[in-house]
Amino acid sequence: MTLAAPGRGPALGLVAPFFLAAPAGLLAAGLILTFSNGDTLLAINAPRTVAATHAAVIGWLTTAIFGAIYQLGPAVLGGRLASTRLVRIHFAVHAGAVSTFVWAIWHWEVTVMALAGLGLIASFVLFLINAVPAVGSPWRGSLPSRYLAVSLGFIVLAAGFGMTWVGALEHLWFPVTMGRLSGHAHLGLVGWLGLTVMGIAYQLIPMFNVVQRKQPVAGGRILAFTALATVGGALVLMTDPGLWTRVVVAVVMTAGPAAWGVEMLRLMLARSRRALDVQGRATFVSLGFLAVTICLGLLAAIGETASPGGEPARILLAYGIAGVGGWAGVTLIGNSYKILPFLVWYHRYRQFAGIRPVPVVADIYSEGVARATLAVHATAVVVAMAGALLGELDILRTGGALLALGAVIHLFSLVHIVLAPHAPAPKRVRPGEVIAR
């Protein structure tokens, strides 16, 4: 028998602001795409495209991941937060830095971009001070813990190269080529976002879909391979390599997420809870988007000859939308309807459990609204991808508007989860059933 140490989660008021602020980043990304111009389909490094990407990645997904790590680390992974006061300061610094950074990219104000970039570096440093002791070591511990610990290294690499590229833009140290942008982007998207999504899935998919009969078999090897492939691949991409080197890099970099996808599919098919709620549906949809992302990534590596209309920017844009909005985004939306209601339950109703009737998680969020949010968002991603691939600006803009609509529904539903009073659902009585004697 083992005597376990008690888990300690942070206060709801500490982590909820991250979840509630995150959809604003998706809203900004959607609105930027709604007002995109012809440049968006011609160059992947057009200011509006770069602004939308950063609004989605560091405004939306990263903000929510910060909240998730602050919660999961101490409550589930056995870590601790160094300072709860720093968490509050971090939230304010991050919110201010991201909004200024995205505005500066949109208007291509390089000096403001550099200053806001320093704010982002401060945000990441504040995050790491708490996140490193919260998630533990990359060499031991549970699979989610190891994935998250490794992903923290990638946020350092992605931010470090990103700031260097901003410095190069401002001071003309060297040209910021497409290869250098691509290397930075993949450190952030595969290293930081990808490994975080993969690690958290190892915790939440078995938990919420009740997987008992199967265990992950390759999680550690997938982590090691993906991390090494991402570092190596990103460094090679920064040298602006030729066609065949790009294809080899793409195959190597997609192998880890592909193997993880197969592992998650295996777990989901072995689940005991057959009825799919929003989190289960989101898992399947996001795995579909992962497959699309991998295919588009391989085609994007081939470049002009594999791109519709001979415009590499279009397939690169579709690849980014599929990966960020589809794979990572759908995962986040599905899990947020489990994580946040559970947090509300834990902090508000746990102390009454067993003493008086309390609501369960299903009573705290609306499954119908959650599914509607997921449907609007997934449709938006497909429409925006189609607009990019077809080279149709109006379809791309429609996808952007749908992304913004999904963000608004998501935001209001999350606010309702946190602020509204909840009651246990009345027990359903079948006709003829005796309920009292």
Partner: protein, 73 residues
Amino acid sequence: MATIQIDNRGLQPPEPMVRILAALGGLAVDDEVVALMDREPHLLYPELERRGYTWEFDGRDDAYVLTVRRSTA
């Protein structure tokens, strides 16, 4: 001494926690609740501590078992 056995396998969080806390309501000093679990219930432990119970978790085999008793201290 009585043992209340609960099978919490196949339930989504927080239902296992709710069922264990409900079962503890009528527990006498020497009684215990033995619950079969899918995984270790980290978030239950602070609540057990607050309500004055001790616990042991056996996670060595396929079937995870949590045993809860009223604290004698």
